[in-house]
């Protein structure tokens, strides 16, 4: 198995609606930026992996109709789609395909044009029509029920969650690619309209048009093409449920299990101390309390204390979401891949105003479907 690194990436300037471009044109913007960033050309790429969730646009087969924009013309081109985890699945698959030795320089693309449909209606089509759809209401209602159960169990409050949203939105001010670039206070989150008890509008991620392209390279190419590649130390994923109604709400088991496997692979024993930055797929504020417990950063019920202590702020012990996270930017098929691109920028020291000083180890996650989780760990030092 070959060692693999991310050597560069390109992102669009994510925003709520891009009526000036088609899907293929949006994809091409991110791909061009990844080529500019790495100095590579289309001819240097061995294969392309691309993904989104078809129902957001209602057009199947992006690997076909975006072939010019995705740079895959007459090259091996693979499409992947796993709902919310699409972007992190793309990153894990990118690692697998290069580690296998089949491809040396791989272009991985995640994208979505969420402005083209009703996001919640489209998400509903990913769920079982017999048992789940009648009452289902996309990501919002399932996550609201998760928040309700978490607060019931541990006494966490809306104010605790609002602190997470305020943190991520503040971080987004440093990211030129972020969609929502306006600071919000804890009080503004608490005053925003209730959408699904206990979630308010500013507790929830937006829907975004955007694309992200990342270049994965095998060991030889990585060291030749980049002075500071972000080496991939571990990948893991877990899928726990068949139906949305099977969820037990006691914890995000998939993230507990995937993170423990990834820590073991990367030799990490104390994640809070050993990891320098995290880009977490937190689609709503309460996840920033309970899912950091699932990651082992705090004991069950103690996530709020870690957040209020400032440990996850930019100047804290373990900055979470220097990019502004999913609460600031959410082009769904790209969202998990943006987390990978951002971790690689942190490792390479190229994250600009959102750079965390001296990041040696970074971790990203993906979330989707029936409470599925993906985890990737990146390192400055070659494994």
């Amino acid at each position: 198995m070959k060692r693999v690194a991310i050597i560069g990436s390109g992102q669009t300037d994510h925003t709520g609606s891009r009526p000036d471009v088609t899907g293929a044109e949006l994809i091409q913007e991110a791909v061009s930026r990844a080529f500019e960033n790495t100095g590579l050309k289309r001819k240097d790429i061995d294969a392309v992996v691309i993904g989104n969730m078809d129902h957001f646009e209602g057009i199947n087969g992006v690997e076909l109709w975006s072939i010019d924009g995705n740079a895959g013309f007459l090259k091996p081109t693979i499409k992947l789609t796993t709902g919310g985890t699409t972007g992190s699945t793309l990153a894990i698959a990118g690692y697998h395909l290069v580690a296998s030795g089949f491809f040396e320089r791989l272009l991985v693309i995640g994208w979505e044009k969420n402005s083209e449909s009703d996001t919640t209606g489209a998400i509903t089509t990913a769920f079982d029509p017999v048992w789940d759809r009648m009452v289902f209401a996309g990501a919002v209602a399932g996550l609201a029920a998760e928040a309700m159960a978490y607060c019931h169990r541990y006494g966490a409050t809306a104010k605790d969650a609002a602190r997470v949203a305020a943190r991520d939105r503040k971080n987004a001010l440093n990211n030129p690619h972020a969609h929502l670039k306006k600071e919000i206070t804890v009080e503004e989150v608490l005053r925003s309209p209730l959408i699904s008890d206990p979630l308010r509008i500013w507790d929830m991620c937006p829907r975004t048009d955007g694309a992200c392209a990342v270049i994965f390279a095998g060991e030889d190419a990585a060291e030749k093409l980049s002075s500071k590649p972000a080496w991939i130390l571990a990948t893991a994923d877990r899928h726990p449920y068949t139906y949305a109604c099977d969820v037990d709400f006691s914890s995000l088991h998939s993230l507990e299990q995937a993170s423990r496997e990834a820590y073991r692979m990367a030799g990490i024993k104390e994640p809070l101390k050993e990891i320098d930055a995290m880009e977490l797929y937190l689609p709503y504020s309460y996840a920033g309390l309970s899912w950091i417990e699932a990651l082992g950063l705090a004991k069950p019920g103690e996530g709020p204390k870690l957040v209020w202590d400032g440990a996850t702020d930019m100047a804290g012990e373990l900055p979470v979401n220097p990019s502004g996270g999913v609460i600031s930017t959410n082009p769904i098929g790209a969202t998990g891949l943006i987390r990978a691109a951002e971790c690689a920028l942190q490792i390479s020291g190229k994250a600009g105003a959102r750079q965390v000083p001296d990041v040696k180890i970074a971790l990203s996650t993906g979330f989707g479907g029936c409470f599925w989780s993906d985890v990737l760990i990146y390192g400055q030092k070659k494994p």
């Binding site: 000036d20 759809r133 209602a141 029920a145 159960a149 959408i195 206990p198 109604c245």
Partner: protein, 157 residues
Amino acid sequence: MAKKNPNLIILSSGEAFQPFRYSVGVYGSRFFYELKENKKFFGVRCPVCRKVYVPPRPLCGPCYRLMDEWVEVGPLGTILSFTILRFAFIDPETGQKKPVPYGYGFIRLDGADTNLQHFLELPKNSAIAIGSRVRPVFQEPRQGNLKDIAYFEIVGG
């Protein structure tokens, strides 16, 4: 900024609605038959982990074992968690906006280890809470699908 450009054209798909025909399977069909004819709920028990699955299905995924022991569950249940949905969105089943607000519950029927997702009646005086006891209110006539339960209501609510 491009989005302000009045010359940019957005093409609408109109009131697109594509009908599908979904197989419910032998296990799901038996559940809906009992619901329709007898107002009864049935799950299946795994011979290895003893977990009772509702909705019923042939296979226990974690044990990877076929299940054939049918167990009557409910009709009373407990709210595992819930929300009150307050924003309108397009229902892909109908192409229409879903009427809001509605109560949305994960209901653990007595004797089951997994849940049904269903509508909760929003009580006027008593609040819904995690752990509240609920009972089904049946639809007349019933068709053999999840809509045969109109909603669940709080017991004593």
